[in-house]
C-alpha cells in the first residue's frame, strides 16, 4: 500500500540526509592542513568534499520540496543548531586521528547500505543523488576500513587509541537506525530506506572488521540522542558558529 507523501515530508527526509553529510564533511575538513601524514591530509579533504557535495544535492532538494524559496546555502549557513537534523555521531569534535577514522568507518558502512537502498527510491532525485554518492562511498568504505584494520591491529599505541575511540563512539551508533514517523512514512512510500532492514547488514560488516582489527565492541547502552528532533550536543553550536560566520557576516557575498 503506497500513498503519496506530503512534499514537506520529502523535504524533511532530504534535510536529514543532507545534514548528516554536511556536518560530517565539515568535521573532516577540519583536518585540512593538520593530517597525520600528507596522503591522509589529502584523503580526508577529498572525502570531506564528497560528503559536502552530497549534502549540497540533498539540501538543494530539501529546499525545493520545502517550497519556501530556501537554497542549499540558505539551509547550510542560516539555520541554528536546533534546526539541524543530523545525528549526534557526526557532530562530535574530530578528536584524534583514530577517533576520526573509527567514526568515519561506522558512518561509511551505514551510508553504503543506505545509499544502496536509496538508489531504488521512488523519488527520482533521491535515487539519482544516491547512485552518484554510492560510487563515492565505495571508496570511503575502503579507506576507513583499511585504516581501522591498520590502527586496531597495529602498534600498542594505535590499538589503544582505536579502542578508546570505539569505546566513546559505539553508544552513538544506534541513532543511525532510529526510525521516527518521517522515516516510516518515507519507507512506506518507497522513497526512503527501511532502517530496520539496514541495521543487521551494517552490524555484520562492522563486527567483522572490528573483530579482525582486534578491537572489542563495548557493551554500552545507546546514548540518549534526539538529533533528528533538533536536540544536539554543545559541540554542534561551536562548529556551526565557525562554519557560518563568513556567510552571516557578509550575506550574499560572492567572488
Amino acid at each position: 500500500m503506497q500513498s503519496a507523501p506530503a512534499a514537506s515530508s520529502v523535504s524533511q527526509y532530504a534535510m536529514r540526509l543532507g545534514d548528516d553529510r554536511l556536518v560530517l564533511g565539515h568535521r573532516l575538513s577540519e583536518w585540512c592542513g593538520h593530517g597525520p601524514i600528507l596522503e591522509e591530509d589529502i584523503a580526508l579533504a577529498n572525502i570531506a568534499l564528497d560528503l559536502i557535495g552530497q549534502a549540497t544535492l540533498f539540501l538543494k532538494l530539501a529546499g525545493e520540496t520545502e517550497g519556501k524559496g530556501r537554497s542549499e546555502d540558505d539551509l547550510a549557513y542560516f539555520r541554528e543548531a536546533v534546526e539541524y537534523r543530523n545525528i549526534h555521531l557526526v557532530e562530535l569534535p574530530k578528536g584524534d586521528y583514530a577517533f576520526t577514522i573509527v567514526r568515519q568507518f561506522l558512518f561509511d558502512v551505514f551510508s553504503y547500505h543506505l545509499l544502496e537502498q536509496l538508489m531504488k527510491s521512488a523519488n527520482a532525485e533521491i535515487a539519482g543523488i544516491a547512485a552518484k554518492g554510492f560510487k563515492e562511498v565505495r571508496y570511503h568504505v575502503r579507506h576507513s576500513s583499511e585504516w581501522v584494520l591498520r590502527l586496531g591491529d597495529g602498534t600498542a599505541e594505535s590499538h589503544s587509541r582505536a579502542q578508546k575511540a570505539l569505546d566513546e563512539l559505539w553508544r552513538f551508533s544506534s541513532e543511525m537506525f532510529e526510525a521516527d514517523s518521517i522515516d516510516r512514512e518515507m519507507a512506506a512510500a518507497g522513497i526512503g530506506a527501511d532502517l530496520d532492514a539496514l541495521k543487521p547488514k551494517w552490524e555484520t560488516v562492522v563486527r567483522d572488521v572490528l573483530t579482525r582489527a582486534t578491537l572489542t565492541i563495548p557493551d554500552d547502552p545507546p546514548a540518549m540522542t534526539r538529533g533528528r528532533k533538533g536536540s544536539h550536543t554543545e559541540a554542534l553550536g561551536h562548529m556551526l558558529s565557525e562554519m557560518q560566520i563568513v556567510a552571516r557576516s557578509h550575506p550574499g557575498a560572492g567572488w
Binding site: 596522503e39 591522509e40 589529502i42 558502512v109 563515492e136 567483522d208
Partner: protein, 177 residues
C-alpha cells in the same frame, strides 16, 4: 563575428554546438574537453535558445561552476544570448564513457588513464579488506607495470597517487569510477 551571423541566419546544428563546446576544457585537466570527458550529457536547441545538460564527475566537484560559466561564455561568443546550463545527476558519470583516444591524451600529459571498466558489482565484503586484489596501473612515463599505490586520494577526488619502481617517479592515476 561569423558565428554570430550564422546564429542569426538560421542557427547551428546540435553537432556544431557540441564542436563549439569542445573548446571548454576541464580546469583540472586542461588537455581534456568537457565533451570527451562525458560531462556534457545533452544539447537541446529551441529556436535561438540552447540548453546544455552537464553532469558532475563527483558530487562535490569544485570545477562545475567554472565549467558552467565557460559554457555560457563560449555560447555567448557564438551568438547565443540565452544559453541555459542545467545540471543533471542521472545517469551517474562514469569513466567508462571515455574513448581510447581520450585515454591516450591522459598518458601524453603524464596521468595514467582509467584502467578497465568501473567496478560496480561485488559486495561490501570485497571493500573491507587489506588483501584486496588491486588492478595493475601502468606508469604513464615508462609504461612499466611495476608500480605501487601510495594513496587512494590524490590532488583531486578523481585521481589517486602511485609510484613507479621502474623509473622512480610518482604519478597520478585517473581512477576508474
Amino acid at each position: 563575428m561569423r558565428n554570430a551571423q550564422k546564429q542569426q541566419q538560421g542557427g547551428f546544428s546540435r553537432e556544431e554546438i557540441l564542436a563549439i563546446l569542445t573548446e571548454v576544457k576541464d580546469p583540472e585537466l586542461p588537455f581534456i574537453d568537457i565533451v570527451e570527458l562525458g560531462i556534457v550529457r545533452d544539447v537541446v536547441l529551441d529556436g535561438d535558445t540552447v540548453r546544455v545538460d552537464i553532469t558532475p564527475t563527483y558530487s562535490g566537484c569544485p570545477a562545475m561552476q567554472v565549467i558552467e560559466r565557460e559554457v555560457c561564455d563560449i555560447l555567448a561568443q557564438n551568438g547565443f544570448e540565452s544559453a541555459e546550463v542545467r545540471t543533471v545527476y542521472a545517469p551517474a558519470w562514469t569513466t567508462d564513457w571515455m574513448s581510447e583516444e581520450t585515454k591516450q591524451k591522459f598518458r601524453d600529459y603524464g596521468i595514467a588513464p582509467p584502467s578497465g571498466m568501473a567496478e560496480s558489482g561485488g559486495g561490501i565484503a570485497e571493500l573491507v579488506t587489506l588483501q584486496r586484489a588491486r588492478p595493475t596501473i601502468e606508469c604513464p612515463f615508462c609504461r612499466s607495470s611495476n608500480t605501487v599505490l601510495k594513496s587512494e586520494f590524490g590532488s583531486t577526488a578523481c585521481k589517486s597517487i602511485h609510484f613507479c619502481n621502474g623509473c622512480h617517479q610518482p604519478f597520478d592515476y585517473f581512477k576508474s569510477f
